[in-house]
Assembly symmetry: C2
Homo-oligomer: 347 residues x 2
């Protein structure tokens, strides 16, 4: 990693005593052993992240990072780049899916302009961190310079430092960004590109083939990526890089990281490649319909909470999964034990 | 069906015009077509059930039907029958999983004593509808008489009539009731018993084989079930029968039915066999880890919302899925359209 980069170190948790205590608590709740399935594993994980047998989530923050992609001009998306700034307006006006779902669950929403190709008028809820008016076309060379990438990572960390709470939900917007996510996945997990590339917002078969050809060229033009940082700079997007920095900062602060879909997972992939202990703090909200996501989750050894065939991004899946995290904490805090409720145990 | 039974007729919905309108609304929200996956299908279904393009769920009711099973004496469960009344006390005291989860989501909780083998002291939140102190041992003959079954169905319908709101979440408690559910499934779907019988609250391999042998005998002793009502009487439980009546009443009132796990689904299976239009009003909350549930859901052509490896019952899965139903309504009501938000459509 370049020496100028000043991101916190994420210390690996080694909370074996707490893990045993949490498992004991779960095993003595009034239910058959393990009968709440994945919710129990989630409760255990949240307890470990927050360092508590009675974890309580407070002031959850949905942060949506938005930026444009030079490669969008090559027709890799079903939508024009203008949709990026239009959706930023929609997020801020409260009309997008993530706006509606965050509101439903009392999750605060912050939109970060990481590099949208248009000036966005300042207003509450918008953080202006524009690195440039979109990345360069990755099919012709690096999407950004290493210096730009480092600036994005730092800015992402700053965003987290400015926000309260002990949980962050990571969303994104950027026409063309399934391309960046697929490129990062292919490079960092050594997976053939065609297994990483999907239809994004809804490409037809011809569009998918065009996207694949453009991205094959992008990989060929960006061969020299000796570190995750270099891969992120060459193949990423400003929203992905800034989200990655935010994830590292949030993890270093022992906040809970709620990862949304394919793009957010690609940022987590980079963050975990840079600092493996980030992984312990990640809850994967859902498995997207975007074709590479299942494989990416498998690489991250992640079992997502939801499988609803979502392919929207924005943080919508993270918002939908949020109540399950609250439920996991409530189970730990509020359920009776066999002893306290006077219920007989299994024979 | 016996003539003395007076359950409402559930009229099939044929709301094609509304379905088209709802699909149009969903397709013009600011997202790629279908990008919210199963949530969109859920929104469409809820809109159709409630007859509205802007559906709003109000005063949701969790109703937990509890009863005992004579066959429990044959060792078909990992827990003793006493756990049924003990858990009823736990529900009412607020310490059970379903109590905690219903409270989290502002869902009112009612516990119905449909036939618990112990007197339960009256108190708010408890409906005393005891048909008997548990069913007869189904491995020796019919679990209940047809008259008892009809009384249970009627009482279930009465419970719904006494409760407000437009959505009912169906939960249950009854040591031994995966046995009844498996028997009903086998008989009504013509599925070999071993594909219907699972480990319930946590039987080991020997326990599973014992349960299977007892239930094979139960099927052999209850061959003559010429109608779903007769099957329900011979093979069911008081909580399943009462839940079935409640489902029919709720469906007739065009309330939304949220079906929990294996036992609740078996009640829905009987209700749909009696009155097929019940099916339109059913949302299946989750796929349980109980081994027959996936097959039962497939028979009902149901795609559950959650797959979290739950096997607790009580209504816990229905409560966990509840926020997704609220989200589906919020998407329909509150998301902007491409036109209203000024967002460009796909090229």
């Amino acid at each position: 990693m370049a020496t100028s980069l000043n991101l916190p170190h994420v210390v690996p948790h080694d909370r074996q005593v707490l893990a045993q205590r949490l498992q004991h608590v779960l095993d003595h709740k009034t239910k058959p052993l393990g009968a709440l399935g994945q919710l129990e594993q989630l409760a255990l994980q949240i307890g470990l992240i927050l360092g508590s047998e009675q974890p309580r989530l407070h002031q959850p923050q949905m942060v949506v990072f938005a930026a444009d992609h030079g490669v969008a001009a090559k027709g890799v998306s079903a939508y024009p780049s203008d949709v990026t700034w239009q959706m930023v307006e929609n997020f801020l006006a409260g009309g997008a899916a993530v706006s509606v779902l965050a509101r439903q669950h009392g999750v605060a929403l912050t939109v970060v302009d990481a590099g949208v190709a248009k000036d966005i008028a300042p207003r509450p809820g918008l953080v202006a961190n524009k690195i440039a008016y979109g990345t360069e076309d990755v099919s012709q060379g690096p999407a950004m310079t290493v210096a730009q990438c480092e600036a994005a990572l730092q800015a992402g960390a700053e965003v987290i430092r400015s926000l309260p709470g002990n949980a962050v939900l990571f969303g994104e917007m950027g026409i063309g960004n399934t391309s960046s996510a697929a490129l990062l996945m292919s490079r960092l997990t050594d997976t053939p590109l065609h297994l990483c590339v999907g239809r994004g917002t809804g490409l037809d078969e011809a569009g998918l083939q065009r996207k694949l050809a453009v991205l094959e060229q992008a990989l060929a033009r960006n061969v020299d990526t000796p570190s995750p940082l270099h891969a992120l700079a060459a193949l990423g997007g400003f929203e992905i890089a800034m989200m990655c920095g935010a994830m590292i900062e949030a993890a270093a602060q022992d906040r809970l990281l709620v990862i949304d879909g394919f793009i957010s997972s690609s940022a987590a992939l980079v963050a975990c490649a840079m600092q493996p202990a980030v992984r312990q703090r990640c809850v994967f909200a859902h498995q997207s319909d975007e074709s590479g996501h299942a494989r990416m989750l498998a690489h991250l050894q992640a079992k997502p909470l939801l499988q609803l065939g979502l392919r929207l991004g924005e943080g919508s899946g993270a918002a939908l999964a949020w109540p399950l995290l609250e439920s996991a904490c409530a189970i730990l805090r509020d359920m009776a034990s066999f002893e306290s409720a006077g219920v007989s145990q299994a024979t």
